[in-house]
């Protein structure tokens, strides 16, 4: 897994590439915690991700809940690779509506529904 971080004011963009799998999920968790501590809006770019597993889907869900609790915003960019969409579908994570606790009932698992 490769990670590139770009910060601009109160916004940070985390660009991931390569494998987003259980072997890397602790590194991903640490990165997300650090970013959510330091800025108010986190953009996650997964365009160049080549593999995603259930462990990382769970982690992104956890990050979304954590951001809500901190009253911050976590968004996955619109350019979602097919491999990521398929992982969501295979794991049954697709959603039509977001959690009631989130702002505007947004949800990472609704396409374009950040």
């Amino acid at each position: 897994m490769e990670l590139q971080v770009e910060q601009s004011g109160d916004i940070e963009r985390l660009t991931f590439a390569g494998e987003l799998t259980v072997q890397h999920s602790d590194k991903l968790r640490v990165s997300l915690m650090r970013t959510l501590d330091s800025v108010n809006h986190v953009f996650i770019d997964l365009e160049n991700v080549t593999s995603v597993d259930l462990s990382c889907l769970q982690l992104l869900c956890s990050a979304c809940h954590s951001s809500q609790k901190l009253n911050k915003l976590l968004t996955i960019t619109d350019k979602r690779p097919e491999i990521f969409k398929k992982a969501i579908e295979d794991a049954g994570y697709s959603r039509h509506v977001g959690c009631a606790s989130t702002i505007n009932k947004s949800c990472l698992w609704i396409e374009n529904g950040n």
Partner: protein
């Protein structure tokens, strides 16, 4: 048996026509998952029925093409003109094989080999496979193909992993009386698990006495056959791992085809243990396996996922609600979870019995489903019913239930309604298969009857006998009705005739470069 083989041929010709139409449609819409599914299902049915009725050559050949289309279905191979060309050629070859089984022209094995070789070239990594000639041997080199053929992907992976670990592979053939089947199976499973890893359980249809069930268990162990005999009470048959001899095959047969008439819809809640990843099992693969058993909808429940600071990257917090409509019975579902059942929560409920008992038009309301599942109390439901919003939205807004639970219940509601609607349509469109020869004979007989009826009417008019005239008029009325009905039965939908020309047009266009 000949009658069944004849029925298979009839069905296979229809499936091949459907396959051709689907392939031509697929060329125009190469990413249409539904059409890819139709192609896959046609081949899967030809393969399954072919093996069942003794058309082993057709089953084996179709299996290879089905494998390629499984990769297409999983997005690993894209649909190209070359793939369509090869699959159409393969389809033609299957037709020739069918014709040959009826005494038609012999099949061209060289061409069949070329088709298969070209199809295999389309599989990603096939070149690597060639280069890696020293790599692991195909399972069929080590184990009887009849066994390998019935293994699921998960079982195949487990088998291969054990062979790679130099474990010996054994099988046990067990017979139990039907009432004791569950307890006998549980007992032998428990014993095997103490000695090694249970890989698969398959029912056997051959040589089964009335009132008994026969099944074969495949397992891996590093123990000797003698010590296993002492532990299991029966001498297992070793099928790999003997010094100096491989492939002393355990003879088996394909599992008996499922003969259930109705599709049953189940609600499954699967909550794996937190440490399932650490045990080397990917629960998503189990869901994939479940999807292969029927029409399936899966909703992940994410409410147990903790915040980042409490998150253990190696734990599985997700659990699933699955709505599955299948003809394969509850045991096929349990088999999917056989290796994780001891550590997981698995609840399987029948929510639609295939129409044997229900006479309701629709299905339960959302609130009823959630209360029945134990996800919502009656009190909470009543509390929120006082407002006017849709029930799902109200429940989520009220914070008494998670969005995933509502989505899962809505999917169940929609799924069962769809299943019941499809069943109603199928019932109204039910048809029987009658050979065209018999219909032609019926048309001829009706033709003769019309002639005789005409003579009767003329004779009655000539004799001017009121009673005879009355009978002749009645016969005329009945004959006219019979003639009209018979003609409508013998008429073919014009689409079937014209669809044959699509392939001809495509072939001509290719040859002319247009």
């Amino acid at each position: 048996m000949d009658k069944h083989r004849e029925a298979f041929r009839d069905e296979a010709y229809e499936l091949l026509a459907e396959l051709e139409t689907s392939l031509l449609e697929l060329e125009d819409a190469p990413e249409d998952i539904e059409i890819i599914g139709r192609v896959f299902r046609a081949m899967h049915t030809i393969k399954g029925s072919g093996a069942m009725f003794g058309f082993d050559d057709i089953a084996a050949f179709t299996h290879e093409i089905e494998t390629v289309f499984d990769l297409v279905r999983n997005g690993k191979i894209s649909v190209t003109k070359e793939l369509i060309d090869l699959t159409l050629s393969a389809r033609d070859h299957i037709r020739t094989m069918l014709d040959a089984s009826e005494g038609g022209e012999a099949t061209d094995e060289v061409m069949a080999g070329e088709i298969m070789a070209s199809l295999k070239k389309l599989i990603p990594g096939s070149e690597e496979t060639k280069e890696d000639a020293e790599g692991p041997a195909p399972l069929t080199d080590l184990i009887d193909e009849a066994i390998v053929r019935v293994l699921s992907r998960n079982e195949e992976q487990r088998l291969r992993a054990n062979i790679n670990k130099n474990k010996k592979i054994y099988c046990i053939d067990t017979v139990a009386s039907s009432p004791d089947f569950d307890s006998a199976l549980s007992e032998i499973k428990a014993k095997i698990k103490k000695q090694g890893e249970l890989i698969s359980i398959h029912p056997i249809s051959e040589d089964v006495a009335d009132g008994t069930v026969r099944f074969k268990l495949l397992f891996a162990s590093d123990k000797t056959p003698e010590s296993l005999k002492a532990a299991l009470g029966v001498m297992p048959e070793q099928i790999t791992g003997r010094t100096g001899e491989e492939g002393n095959f355990c003879s088996t047969s394909l599992p008996s085809p499922d003969t259930r008439e109705e599709s049953i819809t189940y609600r499954i809640r699967f909550r794996p243990s937190r440490d399932i990843f650490a045990k080397g099992t990917n629960p998503v693969l189990l869901l994939d396996e479940l999807r292969q058993t029927g029409k399936c909808k899966v909703v992940a429940q994410t409410d147990a996922i903790p915040l980042l600071e409490d998150f253990d990257p190696e734990a599985c917090y997700t659990y699933w609600d699955v709505i599955l409509t299948t003809r394969r019975g509850i045991n096929a579902i349990k088999d999917v979870f056989i290796f994780v059942e001891d550590d997981s929560e698995l609840i399987i409920d029948v929510i639609d019995d295939g129409g044997r008992l229900d006479n309701e038009a629709g299905y339960k309301r959302l609130g009823e489903i959630l209360i029945e599942r134990g996800d919502l109390t009656h009190e909470d439901l009543q509390k929120v019913l006082s407002s006017q919003k849709p029930i799902g939205e109200m429940l989520v807004d009220a914070g008494v239930i998670d969005t995933g639970k509502v989505q899962s219940a809505l999917i169940e509601q929609q799924h069962v309604s769809d299943v019941r609607e499809s069943r109603r349509k199928a019932e109204s469109l039910s048809s029987i298969r009658v050979s065209s020869g018999k219909l032609d004979s019926l048309v001829d007989l009706v033709g003769e009857l019309v002639t005789v009826q005409s003579r009767l009417s003329r004779t009655a008019a000539y004799q001017n006998d009121p009673e005879l005239l009355s009978i002749a008029e009645e016969v005329e009325r009945l004959t006219c009705e019979l003639r009209d009905n018979t003609m409508s039965i013998r008429m073919l939908p014009i689409g079937t005739t014209f669809s044959k020309f699509r392939r001809l047009v495509r072939t001509l266009s290719n040859e002319l470069g247009k």
